[in-house]
């Protein structure tokens, strides 16, 4: 697995995150639930920025960034604030795993970027009723 491959995998994950957060934003009411609306909006902006950063990184390697899919599967139930929080938490945990993977396959500035993204995502999990973990992003330690 090359650094470029790992960057492409992470970009694909961010494409999905941006899509799903866009859908979550459309189902979150600013008036009825301003805190959740703000959390979802902030997460959307953060993932879009990471997506753009990854795209530039791949272009800098003179490669073609992987394109977004036309659509991504959404969770079956997005009817309540709890459903929205669970979906957002799933996105963040999935992205944390992907960034941890990117850390392992990069060095120097790219690795620093991946570490920062992992840290930011781990903190964002808490806004969606995530509980602090012992090893964020490391699926093999989820039972700890």
């Amino acid at each position: 697995m090359s650094e470029l491959d790992a960057l492409q995998t992470t970009l694909a994950a961010e494409h999905a995150a941006v899509f799903v957060y866009g859908a979550l934003g459309g189902r979150t009411s600013l008036a009825a639930n301003p805190v959740l609306h703000d959390s979802v909006s902030s997460a959307y902006v953060a993932h879009r920025a990471r997506r753009d950063l990854l795209t530039r990184s791949i272009l800098d390697l003179e490669a073609e960034p992987v394109a977004a899919e036309a659509a991504y599967a959404l969770p079956a139930r997005l009817d309540s604030p709890g459903d929205i929080e669970r979906a957002a938490l799933d996105i963040e945990r999935s992205c944390a795993s992907t960034y941890a993977y990117l850390v392992a396959h990069t060095v120097a500035a790219q690795r620093r970027m991946a570490i920062a993204a992992l840290n930011e995502g781990a903190v964002r999990e808490l806004a969606f009723r995530g509980t602090p973990e012992t090893f964020p992003g490391l699926d093999e330690y989820t039972d700890r």
Binding site: E133, T134, G137
Partner: protein
């Protein structure tokens, strides 16, 4: 979701890999004899895996953070650091006798310092698996600081 590479970050594995390196090939006939080397070093180990020293330094930081958290009565935070130490196969630190109130005041400062150290160690790690582990530890500390 991609699966990470096998975790080879344990200190014993790092030490083993260093010894294997030393035994496998690094003797070009010009290496100094054991008698010429300083006590405690192996012939041909001038390129010993730098991750060993990195892990040792991180263990010192984790041990100090665990002491500060324990002294402050923050058992959950201390348990986090203990879990991280165990994964890195460190030795348990000695208990601290600091006053709880003073210790609590030091916790955030200590956690911020530990976070910086973990990020720096993750960037510096030669092993991608070790970098991934250290980065995850830094993220766990970020969650507690949030």
């Amino acid at each position: 979701m991609p699966t990470g590479p096998p975790l080879v970050a344990r200190r014993s594995a790092l030490l083993l890999s260093a010894v294997v390196l030393a035994a496998a090939g690094c003797d070009d006939g010009n290496s100094p004899s054991p008698a010429d080397t300083p006590t405690g070093t192996l012939p041909g180990t001038s390129t010993v895996d730098p991750d060993i020293a990195l892990v040792d330094a991180v263990l010192v930081d984790l041990g100090r953070a665990e002491q500060v958290a324990t002294a402050a009565g923050l058992a959950e935070l201390a348990a986090l650091h203990r879990a991280h130490i165990e994964v890195l196969e460190g030795d348990p630190p000695a208990a601290s006798a600091q006053g709880r109130r003073a210790a609590r005041a030091a916790v955030r400062r200590e956690e911020e310092r530990l976070h910086r150290q973990l990020v720096a160690a993750a960037v510096a790690a030669e092993s991608g698996a070790l970098a991934r582990l250290l980065a995850s530890m830094s993220a766990a500390v970020s969650q507690r600081l949030a």
